[in-house]
């Protein structure tokens, strides 16, 4: 076989390979685009992330769980999603607050001994779930 023939065959194979590679890549890209259209768009996902990350969880700054106090009144404060309805209940008292901003604070009476205080926050948005915390605060007089 002549030298020119061998070079022509090699060049033909290389060219064929390149064309085949180009066609396979293009086809898979098209298929990927088709499947993307079925799944939720990336913009939607980003919006979801923004809503979840901007949500303020119910946090109680004070009092601490299992805290001992020597006064018959305690200040309950914390953070919550804006416009949430907050229900604070114990065996001796219930307080309802509407959080105009991300924080809340209220004075709450205590009975001598153990005080089980349940704090529930109902967010204004129906898409968000209610959140709750339970505190045990012990009011024990100093002289005891």
């Amino acid at each position: 076989m002549k030298k020119e023939t061998i070079v022509a065959i090699i060049l033909g194979l290389l060219l064929g390979g390149m064309v085949a590679f180009f066609l396979i890549t293009k086809t898979s890209e098209k298929e990927l685009e088709k499947s993307k259209a079925i799944a939720p768009t990336s913009t939607l996902n980003q919006e979801k992330v923004a809503v979840v990350s901007g949500y303020q969880n119910l946090e109680i700054s004070q009092p601490q769980d299992e805290e001992i106090v020597d006064k018959e009144m305690v200040t309950i404060s914390g953070k919550v999603e804006k416009n949430s309805l907050i229900v604070i209940q114990s065996p001796i008292k219930e307080v309802i607050l509407n959080a105009d901003n991300n924080s809340f604070q209220t004075d709450f009476p205590l009975a001598l001994g153990e005080n089980v205080i349940k704090i529930v926050a109902y967010p204004h948005s129906q898409l968000l779930r209610s959140q709750e915390k339970e505190l045990r605060v012990y009011y024990l007089k100093n002289e005891l």
């Binding site: 299992e66 001992i68 018959e72 309805l85 229900v87 209940q89 114990s90 065996p91 219930e94 309802i96 509407n98 009975a111 001598l112 001994g113 153990e114 089980v116 205080i117 349940k118 529930v120 109902y122 204004h124 129906q126 209610s130 709750e132 339970e134 045990r136 012990y138 024990l140 007089k141 005891l144």
Partner: protein
């Protein structure tokens, strides 16, 4: 005679000196004891914590309690330091150690390390359960509310004539008195019940008070 007097004088002098030295030593010991006791009391106050639970074992020198999370704690009692009280209303009445028995609900104030408490004071108190959930069923014949909490626990709340019944006014957000007839399935209820040592069948309790959040509040 002079000699006898001299001996007597020396004897009295020696006795006086001995008594004086002994008295001073006793005084010093007492002051030291008081100082140590004060320091111990100060340290105890600094590290003081409280825990509550139901007594399931009583022995000389210690108690064993089971707390809310079903964990067991050993309560060490000190004959000289630990004091005992019972809480009635807003008063604490001092009692004896023997007054504490199995199944009592107690608060222990003391130094906690691991699962052991060196008790400073022990109080007999009432155990309350404060929770909330959705009303799944209103039994108007038996004045009973079936409630499912957010942790999927089911409660049967008996509404008695003594039960304080309140409702949220969704316009004013004020709490008002209400009656059983106004309670509907789907409403949210916040409730308080008193727990006893006996395990309640079907989580059925006589209810102390309820606060209803009408379902209309959540429909905006």
């Amino acid at each position: 005679m002079k000699k006898i007097l001299l001996y007597c004088y020396i004897a009295i002098l020696l006795y006086g000196v001995t008594v004086n030295v002994y008295g001073q030593e006793q005084k010093d010991i007492e002051i030291l004891k008081e100082k140590i006791a004060n320091k111990v009391s100060e340290l105890r106050k600094e590290n003081n914590k409280a825990i509550s639970g139901r007594v399931f074992e009583t022995e000389t020198g210690f108690l064993k309690i089971k707390i809310q999370r079903q964990e067991e704690y050993l309560i060490k009692l000190d004959d000289a330091l630990t004091k005992y009280y019972t809480i009635a209303g807003n008063e604490a009445k001092e009692i004896k150690k023997e007054n504490i028995s199995k199944n009592d609900y107690i608060i222990v104030n003391g130094v906690i390390h691991d699962k052991t408490v060196d008790a400073n004071s022990v109080f007999i108190d009432e155990e309350y359960l404060v929770d909330s959930g959705k009303i799944s069923q209103v039994d108007k014949d038996n004045y009973l509310l079936k409630v499912v909490t957010s942790s999927k626990e089911e409660f049967n709340l008996e509404i008695e004539t003594s039960t304080k019944q309140m409702i949220l006014n969704i316009k004013t957000l004020e709490v008002e008195r209400t009656g059983f007839s106004k309670i509907k399935e789907g409403d949210t209820v916040h409730f308080v019940v008193k727990k006893t040592s006996e395990t309640s069948k079907d989580n059925r309790y006589s209810t102390i008070k309820i606060l209803i959040i009408p379902q209309e509040y959540f429909i905006k």
